[in-house]
């Protein structure tokens, strides 16, 4: 059992946790903004898979991870634009459209991948690492936390940005009003539809980046259905976080740790059936929902399309 607590094992565990947490963090932060603005964005899973596929294709053909993240984000935005059109502007049912987008894009990306690569799954080269000077030299924690691709630092920095937006900016007020009392926002002279559209497009960007990260950094390749519920975990995170970006980060790290344990335990050669270990993240979801789910407070107008004059 000594292997369990060796430095190498702990570093691998933490490194894996961060890598697994980043897509969830991006998805959770994105979903959080949609929900704040009153749009229950079930289509986020579809936005992620779109980002994963286009992100992979971009990185594969250009040879640049930067281009990959750009195309990934665009892939998420494209799906989000469709969602915004159907659910925010036209006012169709957000749950139905969200599920349709998710299922549709899972199928579409699998199909396109099959056309392009047949049954082969080409790999990307190892992702370039940016070390943070000094911090990266800390034993165990250094290599685990401070030797990552730039996008990882960007994602964590986004937590601070979101805190600022929600606490300090006019946009934050508008978003919250759009979710809690859209009529009040409308009377104040701000376009509710536009505010919600901005939120959904932001969700698409973040989900697209998360999907691209999952494929390009996490796995190094694209396989159909690679997101495997990461978007839905993002929805759970956003709901549990009750509008606080920090809690999305905490939740993402907890889930990331569970996911990482799955691999790390195998590396350490612990004799537990892998099926049991693979259950961990979902067990963690259930435990967290039981513990905190009841206190989750959602915006009053969540899921309700806005129509002027309708009460």
């Amino acid at each position: 059992m000594s292997g369990l607590f060796s430095n190498v094992f702990l570093t691998a565990l933490l490194f894996g946790a961060v890598t697994a947490a980043i897509p969830l963090l991006l998805a959770g932060l994105g979903e959080q903004m949609s929900e704040k603005a009153g749009v229950l964005n079930i289509g986020i899973e579809g936005m992620m898979i779109s980002g994963a596929y286009l992100g992979f294709v971009g990185a594969y053909y250009s040879g640049s991870f930067g281009v990959g993240f750009l195309t990934g984000a665009l892939g998420g935005i494209a799906v989000a634009a469709l969602m915004a059109l159907l659910c925010v502007r036209i006012g169709l049912n957000q749950i139905v459209i969200g599920i349709a987008l998710t299922l549709g894009l899972e199928g579409l990306t699998a199909l396109l991948h099959h056309f392009q690569f047949s049954r082969s799954y080409p790999r990307l080269p190892a992702v370039p690492i940016t070390e943070i000077p000094l911090l990266a030299d800390i034993p165990i924690l250094g290599p685990a936390l401070f030797k990552h691709h730039l996008i990882v630092y960007f994602s964590v920095a986004m937590v601070l940005v979101m805190i600022w937006v929600y606490r300090r900016s006019q946009l934050g007020l508008n978003l919250q009003a759009a979710g809690d009392k859209p009529a009040a926002l409308d009377v104040a002279g701000i376009d509710v539809i536009r505010t919600r559209t901005i939120a959904v497009l932001f969700t698409g960007t973040m989900a697209g980046l998360g999907g691209a990260f999952l494929a390009n950094v996490g796995a190094g390749l694209f396989i159909p259905f690679i997101t495997n519920g990461a978007g839905f975990l993002g929805i759970v995170l956003a709901m549990l976080a009750r509008g606080r970006p920090v809690w999305v980060l905490v939740g993402a790290l907890i889930f990331g740790m569970c996911l990482s344990l799955t691999t790390a335990a195998q590396v350490a050669g612990i004799n537990v059936p892998t099926d049991v270990i693979q259950m961990l993240p979902f067990l963690a979801v259930m435990v967290m929902l039981v513990l905190f789910g009841r206190r989750a407070s959602l915006p009053a107008a969540l899921g309700i399309p806005y129509e002027r004059g309708a009460r």
Binding site: Q170, L171, Q176, A177, D180, A184, V187, A188, G189, T195
Partner: protein
């Protein structure tokens, strides 16, 4: 320090309405309304439900557009296109249901509407709020979350918000309906201070006392028309009692054509059929409870329940029908206690309830007309046997009911939701009067019906009473009650505040009770 902009001359018209007309399908909500709203005046719009007050406000605040006539702002004809356009013209509205985001603080609510890329200018805001609120005697805690404020405080925040946007005309829509008596007095004083500073205030209410206490000018609306206006000079001169008499006369006074009243004849008898004693229902957040409701209805009698909508009428009907648990009191039908009985059992005893929510609660829209006749007998013989529907039996009974109650439906299999409101009402009546009805509760039976169906329904109710049933008729339409009932009780805030025997002068007595005056 002059927080309110230039300050127009007192008495100068800010907004003038000329022959403004607004039609909705089947109804003229505003018919040729002339109105002048002047700086330095509290202009009270007084009227019952459906008098057209809300529509008028909707047009002033940019939510609706008039179909005829014109609106002049500062003497210039102006189409008020949207709420934000109204604001830019200096017309601020405080709606009956507040427009604040409960999860934000007061300051954040006031900052709402700024450019999205900016930081909310809370400090600047605080200075301006203090400048506006202090002379008006309002205390505003900018850091408090709106959900923690009382309704009166929330209203003050909304008034301050309107002033922050440099409103010259402030519209207060049913502003007192949610306030405590003290809150109402404070609002009255605040309105006085506002007009002293040169603003115009339009104050909408259905309470006569408030009109007399707070108004400089009173306009009275009735059924979409303006039926009277009392200018400031007369208002000041009139004694309060004389003023009240004049307004009551205009609001409820009989007019030509009102004489077509036919109270159904009723053979003298002392048989009490429905007896309610001290019925009470606890209040909840959004509805008043019922307190010590007592009345009796005799055989063949129609007892009307008058009152402004939302004063416990629906709760009363539901408590009687057994749909809402009562906290105390007793209900007896034909001498038998119904207190411990469930909805179905009360129905079988002969107590029937026709809801005002015909499609939501009364019928199942997608089900065929035929099944809707027997909704409350599903599974029971003879129409069902061992759980299996006997369609031939249902069909033949449905056909005879359709004929008997003159339901105009393309076929018995037509979904009931496709029928007109009047025909749905007939289906409901047919169902509820079937087999052994003794006492029938009607909640707003003609609401939303066209004239022909209204008259048919009223005649049906008279016939029912003529057959010796007891009828409780709940309506917000006073004319309707006066044209049908033997006696009328008035409900206010969940209590019965008086009983009036129908006859000459009854309308005024009921009207006085409705607006909070002793008969």
């Amino acid at each position: 320090m002059e927080p309110i902009n230039e300050g127009p001359q007192t008495g100068q018209a800010i907004v003038t309405l000329e022959g403004v007309t607004k039609r909705f399908p089947g109804i003229i909500a505003n018919d040729q309304i002339d109105l002048e709203i002047s700086a330095g005046e509290v202009h009270v719009l007084l009227g019952e439900n459906g008098a057209g007050k809300s529509t008028l406000i909707g047009m002033l605040s940019g939510l609706q557009q008039p179909d005829g006539g014109r609106i002049l702002v500062d003497g210039v004809e102006t189409a008020i296109r949207s709420p934000s356009h109204a604001l830019s013209l200096g017309i601020g509205t405080v709606f009956q249901h507040n427009m604040l985001v409960p999860t934000l603080t007061v300051a954040e609510n006031l900052a709402l509407g700024g450019p999205w890329w900016q930081r909310p200018k809370i400090a600047e805001l605080a200075a301006r709020v203090a400048e506006i609120a202090r002379p008006l005697g309002i205390e505003i805690n900018l850091g408090a979350r709106v959900s923690e404020l009382s309704l009166g405080q929330q209203q003050q925040v909304e008034i301050v918000r309107a002033l922050l946007r440099e409103s010259r005309l402030l519209i207060l829509d049913e502003a007192t309906s949610m306030l405590t008596p003290q809150g109402i007095a404070e609002l009255g004083a605040l309105m006085r201070r506002l007009v002293e500073r040169g603003l115009a205030v339009v104050f909408i209410t259905h309470k006569l006392g408030e009109a007399a206490d707070f108004g400089d000018r009173v306009s009275i609306l009735k059924l979409g028309r303006k039926v009277g206006e009392i200018p400031p000079e007369r208002l000041r001169k009139l004694e309060r009692a004389a003023l009240v008499d004049e307004i009551v006369d205009k609001m409820f006074g009989r007019q030509a054509g009102d004489d077509a009243v036919s109270i159904p004849p009723r053979a003298a008898n002392d048989d009490v059929l429905l007896e309610v004693r001290d019925l009470s229902v606890p209040a909840t957040a959004d509805m008043p409870g019922l307190e010590a409701i007592s009345f009796t209805i005799g055989k063949g009698e129609i007892l009307g329940v008058a009152g402004i909508d939302g004063n416990g009428q629906k709760e009363l009907a539901e408590a009687l029908a057994g749909q809402r648990p009562a906290a105390g009191g007793s209900v007896r039908l034909g001498g038998q206690s119904l207190d411990d009985l469930e909805v179905g059992a009360r129905r079988r005893k002969g107590l029937r309830y026709l809801t005002d929510d015909r499609l939501g609660e009364g019928t199942v829209g997608p089900f065929p007309v035929s099944i809707n006749y027997f909704l409350k007998q599903i599974g029971e013989p003879p129409l069902w046997r061992s759980g299996i529907e006997r369609s031939r039996e249902i069909e033949s009974r449905a056909r005879s009911l359709t004929h008997l109650y003159d339901v105009r439906t393309p076929a018995l299999s037509t979904p009931v939701g496709r029928l007109s409101g009047g025909n749905i009402q007939k289906v409901l009546i047919a169902r509820e009067l079937a087999e052994g009805a003794k006492a029938v509760i009607f909640n707003k039976p003609t609401y939303g019906l066209d004239l022909a169906n209204t008259l048919a329904t009223r005649q049906r109710i008279r016939d029912i009473a003529g057959e010796g049933l007891a009828v409780l008729l709940i309506s917000t339409d006073l004319e309707e009650l006066l044209s049908m009932c033997h006696r009328i009780v008035v409900i206010s805030q969940g209590r019965l505040v008086g009983t009036v025997t129908n006859g000459p002068g009854a309308g005024e007595k009921v009207g006085r009770l409705m607006i909070g005056l002793a008969a």
